[in-house]
Amino acid sequence: MRRRLRSVAAVAAAAVIGLAAGCSGGGSSDSGKPVKLKFLSLAWQKDSLAANKRLVAEWNKENPKIQVQYVQGSWDNVNDQLVTSFEGGDPPDVIHDDSSALAGFASQGYLTDLTKLLPAGLKSDIPQAAWGTATFAGQGGGDQGIYGVPFLQESQVILANKKLLDDAGVKVPTVDAPWTWDQFQQISKKLTSGKRFGVAWALKSPVNRVLNLSLNYGGTFFQTSGGKTTVKVGPQEREVLQRIHDQLYKDKSADPSALGMGTADPLPGFYAGKYAMLPASIYMRQQVIEQAPKNFEWVTIPPLKGQTTQQGEIAQTLSVAADSKHPKEAVKFISWFLNGQHQVELAKGDWLIPTSQTAAKDPSLNTSKDGWDIATASAKSLILAPYLKVDGYDEFKTKVATPALQSYFANKISIDQLAQKLTGDGDKVLARYQH
């Protein structure tokens, strides 16, 4: 209750101060000194870091009354850092995170609802599906609001060894005529030979990946009835699970030893020809370009098709802390920072897809070089990941789904036992979060 009161008071204070700042003529504080904003950024790749710092420097040069301090954080521990800052009442003004973290922060009253603060230009430049990834119930399950501006998104593609495809007479599919899962499984078998596997599924952290891909067959894994959310594992949810399992143990076209690997771990085997194809996020292209041997030829294969090519989407976001004393200035900075032109720069730095429709049209993001055309086109397959809206998903993922999926893919339990674990144990976890 005290926290609630304090947060309400903080929001009110921030609004009053923000209003005062707004009335004082665009930026400077009451004393005439420039407004100072702290921007916690999670950019870490060299190019991305450079792009972020360059944009902040440009903003500071053009806006002497609103000065932004760039603070680099880390994906590994950002949420621990933020919780402490929020509780201590000293959070950064502008916060870089991903949409999966926003639901919890929004319901605790840590973030500003941006719905009425965002300029129309920015709202219309980003598609509704992307806004959906940052729209959550407010404090204590209150009204829905926008708690972050989504700007970078990732899709799952397949990186393939071009020479091995050519040698096997396999044609590279197009975005308009992608491989179906059946075709992918057949081609994986065709590319498996001797010590070489057709595919390596690196599933150290399997849950988000499997849930995102399961949307190919309409598998949502969650259902809500009478305000109560439960886990469901029906035929649609079983499709992708079963197909990956078949590749591992029936077709033997996927290397079981890759299962425990992190996303980038199979890359050395990929370069050495041990794996012909690598299902991966689009940002993995950068590592291939930096690390692959000079004569290594590779291609990006578009997202696979089940009933559709749909995949779940999680976006990187910029939010404004509820305790920020300058929410209007923070939104002004975010709107400038994430305009179409800047999103091109940020997307190229992180090798991800921009949410800005203006940015997506940029020629540099539509060239066939380095698979950019396929990466950018894959954005149309992205839909809101259903689990983003599930209270208690993080605990379900960590305590139930991760060990259960790992056991299933290690062939220690059957798909029926997996379904039982996910629904039985999963429902118990979710029940504790129902309002």
Binding site: Q45, W75, A264, Q291
Partner: protein
């Protein structure tokens, strides 16, 4: 165990201990391509310094190393200055209260950091010490002090009481006895405690993450983590290069005082 077998066991243990450091060193001189080979080599095929230049050009390694050094040295000295007299009192004046105090010192070590970080942060905020190196030093001292106290009181107990009684007979007061008689005998224990406090503070990450907000205040562990991304991804080359550099001060510190530390640990282990 026969002598050759002992040497083999010792060698295996040394390899086990040295492996991470040697691997780090090897990685720091490799190109990105060489790091991503299926069968990695110990000796880089095309050694490069680019990881070091990259690490220095993208992050403030020198500044953060200096700040870490200031914090770690301050923590080491303050911890020992505070712990030494307290350890003497605990070891020499045995009472129920002292036993409770030692028990409490040990129990205080089991509290999870996450449990205390928010209240601690609020206290620091009230003291205007958030985002300051003195604030971090205060917190590090608070957390190293109990174990340092427990370590030192073991060393104090190892010093025979008869020496103090002899000093008293010769007319020395309690303070003079402590400074002139006891302190020199405790040198190994003090060195071991200094090293413990220094390394604990030098490597500490979480408190620094929460307390230090500005990039120009960051200590070395905070700077190292900036080479890592999501899902276990990292810029391995620059991270390895920066980690090698981060290890050097600890190694130098250890090399300078290791002989005294060895005797200190032995003394504590036998007599504590």
């Amino acid at each position: 165990m026969s002598k050759p077998l002992k040497y083999v066991a010792l060698l295996a243990y040394l390899v086990f201990l040295g492996f991470p450091l040697l691997w780090l060193l090897s990685t720091s001189f490799k190109t990105q391509r060489e790091m991503a080979t299926l069968h990695p080599r110990w000796i880089p095929h095309h050694p490069t310094l680019s990881n070091f230049t990259d690490a220095f050009s993208t992050q403030d390694l020198t500044g953060s190393a200096l700040r870490s050094l200031v914090v770690a040295l301050s923590v080491a000295v303050i911890t020992v200055v505070l712990a030494l007299p307290a350890a003497y009192a605990l070891a020499r004046h045995r009472s129920l209260l002292n036993r409770v105090a030692i028990g409490w010192v040990l129990v205080s070590q089991v509290f999870p950091v996450m449990l205390i970080i928010i209240p601690l942060f609020m206290i620091l905020r009230r003291l205007d010490l958030v985002n300051t190196l003195p604030g971090l030093i205060l917190v590090h001292v608070t957390f190293t002090l109990p174990f340092a106290l427990w370590m030192l009181q073991g060393y104090v107990r190892g010093v025979p009481r008869e020496l103090e009684e002899a000093a008293a007979v010769d007319g020395a007061g309690r303070l003079r006895t402590l400074v002139r008689v006891i302190a020199p005998l405790l040198t190994p224990g003090v060195i071991a405690t200094l090293l413990f406090a220094f390394i604990s503070s030098w490597n500490e990450f979480f408190f620094a993450l929460v307390i230090l907000k500005d990039p120009d205040k960051a200590t070395l562990p905070l700077t190292l983590v900036k080479f890592t991304g999501a899902e276990q991804a990292a810029r391995l080359g620059p991270l390895a290069a920066a980690s090698v550099l981060a290890t050097i001060p600890s190694l130098i510190f250890f090399a300078v005082i290791q002989r005294r530390l060895r005797s200190g640990l032995t003394a504590g282990a036998v007599k504590g």
